[in-house]
């Protein structure tokens, strides 16, 4: 795989609150799309060749969610499709559309309107394999807790390390206007935090939030011709490993490592994570950040160094623990943050001299699916 000739020329984000009762999913999508098109300086009716969303059936109370996508993102009567999955999978498909020549400019949208869903666990549980796993009656949090217990046991990390993750993530979130759950409480976990399923505490889990993010991608040739500010997509890869309950590894996120290796090869990264200025890593649960970091670093020592502030800046947005779990839009939010940072628009959370970034995603329980994107400016 070679380095793609694709860049990000516009981003837009809207919502980012635990609940947005005043607007619908479609209005939320419209707001983010309008901001992204303005940021990219394009007319979607004329200059976007293909529209893509990452939504998955049932979260909006809809079957075939694809049908309700085109109007509010300017795609009616145009090539529109859904790539159900996290935003990195969507990003990869957008990159391939551009590289194939079928499109020069692609708009990629992801959203969460989780607050509309009365029983989120019921939707999550429907994702479990129906013959062998679902009948066991374990919810997503129970599956996550079992993985957390195994990970902590095998990795040598402990609950105290999860507390540090929580404290740092939420503290960083206080500098991010999109983060609803930022806080400066010392020791991230309240002593009264309920144990959902041992060892998982309620605080270890990112709370759901509503948001929409739109990213506009273009070929580098288009960006050059139209003189747009561009963030290069140097590498993008995604994949699935066996979930731990199907015989996969709990100590290690195979999907994260394999995606990183493929993306790093495309981007020609020489020194692994050490080559990067900032990383935005999935932290839907506190232990997942540790697991993902170890999987990207390949050893606990390097992971611990990053946690202690050496190497790339870790989750300057505050991550999902501070911003909220945006379901399939979570990865696009990380991408949004990385783009802002690389453009020097991170305001009071700006990472100094940020020229390169990594974004890593995970689709959540019960999957072992995720991806990695590597971005840069000024290369």
């Amino acid at each position: 795989m070679r380095r793609p000739e694709v860049c990000i020329v516009g981003v837009g984000a809207a919502g980012f609150r635990p609940a947005l009762p005043e607007i619908s999913t479609r209005e939320l999508m419209f707001e983010a799309a309008a901001l992204a098109y303005r940021d990219a300086g394009i007319d979607p009716r004329k200059e976007v060749d293909s529209f893509m969303t990452t939504s998955e059936d049932l979260w909006e109370g809809w079957s075939i969610t694809d049908e309700m996508v085109p109007d509010q993102i300017g795609g009616a009567g145009r090539p529109v499709c859904t790539i159900p999955g996290d935003g990195i999978t969507g990003l990869g498909n957008a990159v391939m559309q551009i590289e194939s020549g079928v499109a020069q400019v692609v708009a990629l949208e992801g959203h969460s309107k989780a607050s509309d869903v009365l029983d989120k666990e019921a939707v999550e549980n429907l994702a479990q394999e129906p013959a062998l796993l679902r009948p066991l009656g374990m919810g997503s949090d129970t599956l996550a807790a079992l993985e957390m217990g195994a990970f902590l046991e095998l990795s040598g990390f402990g609950l105290a390390d999860c507390d540090v993750v929580l404290e740092n993530s939420r503290a960083r979130g206080t500098a991010n206007p999109l983060a609803s759950f930022g806080s400066r409480r010392r020791r991230g976990v309240s002593p009264s935090s309920e144990v959902i399923s041992s060892p998982l505490r309620r605080s270890d889990k990112a709370q759901f939030a509503d948001a929409s993010v739109v990213v506009v991608l273009a070929s580098k040739a288009w960006a050059k011709k139209n003189k747009r500010q561009a963030v290069s997509v140097d590498g993008v890869a995604w994949g699935s490993s066996l979930p731990w309950f199907d015989g996969g590894d709990a100590a290690y996120a195979g999907y994260a490592r394999s995606s990183f290796e493929r993306a790093a090869k495309q981007a020609e990264l020489k020194r692994g994570l050490g080559s990067l200025d900032l990383i935005e890593i999935d932290d839907a649960y506190s232990f997942k950040l540790l697991q993902h970091l170890v999987s990207l670093s390949r050893d606990k020592k390097q992971a611990s160094a990053v946690l202690e502030g050496e190497g790339p800046a870790l989750n300057p947005s505050g991550g999902s623990l501070a911003v909220g779990n945006l379901i399939e839009a979570s990865a696009l939010h990380r991408l949004y943050e990385a783009v802002l940072q690389l453009r020097g628009e991170g305001d009071n959370r700006q990472v100094k001299w940020a020229k390169s970034a990594l974004v890593q995603s995970w689709r959540g329980v019960p999957t072992a699916t995720g991806g990695v994107a590597i971005l840069s400016v000024g290369a």
């Binding site: 049932l58 090539p79 499709c81 590289e99 020549g101 999550e124 394999e129 995604w238 699916t369």
Partner: protein, 387 residues
């Protein structure tokens, strides 16, 4: 200009039946194993997987792509699910096409699966939830109702009769008698269609394809890889897709403009100036018999309102001047939504390779087209292929 030419080098298909005992994963495995065997390729040589499946509600599994990926061979390689409702079956190979055409991978396994039977009391219930919860669901509409409206509008504008439309069901069910995987092949008459149970006027039971379970798969490869596996690759030379507004009440249902736009996209890529002349046959989406006529017109393979005449004159029969749905289509082979669309692309592949057996069209077939339709009567997906 694409980086890679994309070839189809193998295809596979399970039986299409109501209430198959195999799980969705097993169906995906079976279809992909057949496609690999046909291609002479091993699973470890597949660099990427694209999964197509329509609503999660059918299988009763959320994130259906995740559920199917083990069966489809998606562990350890980049796997994507692509989705445009009922148009997904033809969109799967379009997604596979951009994987390979991009030059980022050289091979892609495309798998489409649908298992409609688990939904009780009837698969139609899954369609309750496809309507807008504020504007449409309170009206109590069903999918059959809105298709009846579209069929009626089409008949009214062009003066088409129910008997004209019934000829499509007669033709396709007859064609399906020669398909070894078909669910509803039959020798029926126009009278049989006319006398079948009225569901929502003018739609009658024999106008409609059945609910089905099944899976299809195909292997796509770059030219360099394809040449290593076969001397007879079939090239994908045009792809197009288009999604119209969700607000179907704002459209004139007599003509599928979204399909014309999708077709124009594909024809431009394939350098097809006169589709009726440049193409030799077509697999057109026919979940209802009137849709074959509607789609032939949207694809510009017939004049507006002219597809019924083509059918009456026998042009679209398997031994006609322009065979349409030589497979037997959804009306005869069955309609496991996404798998049904991919079945059409598989049929084009088999026809172009001369491997369609008793279904082989009589005329020399060098170029063919497959098309599907979906969402809320708003998606057109088109793929053109050539030897």
């Amino acid at each position: 200009m694409t980086r890679n030419r994309v070839a189809v080098i193998g295809a596979g298909m399970t039986l299409f039946r109501r209430r198959l005992l195999e799980t969705g994963r097993e169906l995906s495995y079976e279809a992909s194993a057949m496609a690999l065997e046909a291609a002479g390729m091993e699973r470890r040589e597949v660099e990427s997987v694209v999964i197509g499946s329509a609503p999660d509600a059918f299988d009763g599994v959320h994130m259906k792509g995740e559920y199917l990926l083990e069966g489809a061979g998606g562990i350890g390689v980049p796997t994507s699910r692509v989705y445009v409702g009922g148009g997904t079956g033809v969109f799967g190979p379009i997604g596979g096409w951009w994987h390979v055409a991009s030059g980022l991978v050289d091979t892609c396994m495309v798998v489409a699966e649908e298992k409609m039977s688990p939904l009780h009391p009837h698969p139609q219930y899954a369609f309750w939830s496809i309507f807008d919860h504020t504007l449409e669901r309170p009206l109590g509409v069903t999918l059959l109702w809105i298709f009846a409206l579209e069929m009626r509008r089409y008949m009214h504008v062009y003066g088409i009769t129910e008997e004209d439309i019934a000829l499509v069901a007669v033709k396709n069910k007859l064609n399906a008698l020669d398909h070894p995987c078909a669910q509803l092949g039959a020798k029926i008459t126009v009278d049989d269609v006319m006398r079948s149970e009225k569901l929502v006027w003018p739609v009658k039971r024999y106008d409609v394809s059945p609910p089905s379970d099944g899976a299809c798969a195909m292997v796509l490869a770059s030219e360099e890889v394809a040449r290593r596996y076969t001397d007879d690759p079939v090239w994908i030379d045009g792809v197009g897709w288009n999604v119209d507004t969700q607000y179907w009440t704002d459209r004139d249902l007599c003509y599928p403009e979204y399909l014309e736009r999708a077709a124009r996209m594909a024809y431009k890529m394939a350098k097809i100036d006169d589709p009726r002349k440049d193409l030799d046959f077509a697999e057109v989406y026919d979940p209802f018999d009137y849709k074959e006529l509607h789609h032939l017109e949207g694809l510009m393979l017939a004049d507006k309102g002219g597809a019924a005449k083509m059918t009456r004159e026998g042009v679209t029969k398997r031994d006609g001047d322009f065979p349409v749905n030589p497979s037997g289509g959804l009306l005869g082979v069955g309609n496991p939504i996404a798998a049904a669309g991919l079945m059409k692309v598989c049929e084009v592949f088999w026809q172009l390779r001369g491997e369609a057996g008793r279904r082989q069209v009589k005329k020399e077939a060098n170029r063919g087209l497959a098309q599907a339709w979906g969402d809320l009567m708003q998606v057109g997906t088109v793929i053109t292929m050539r030897r």
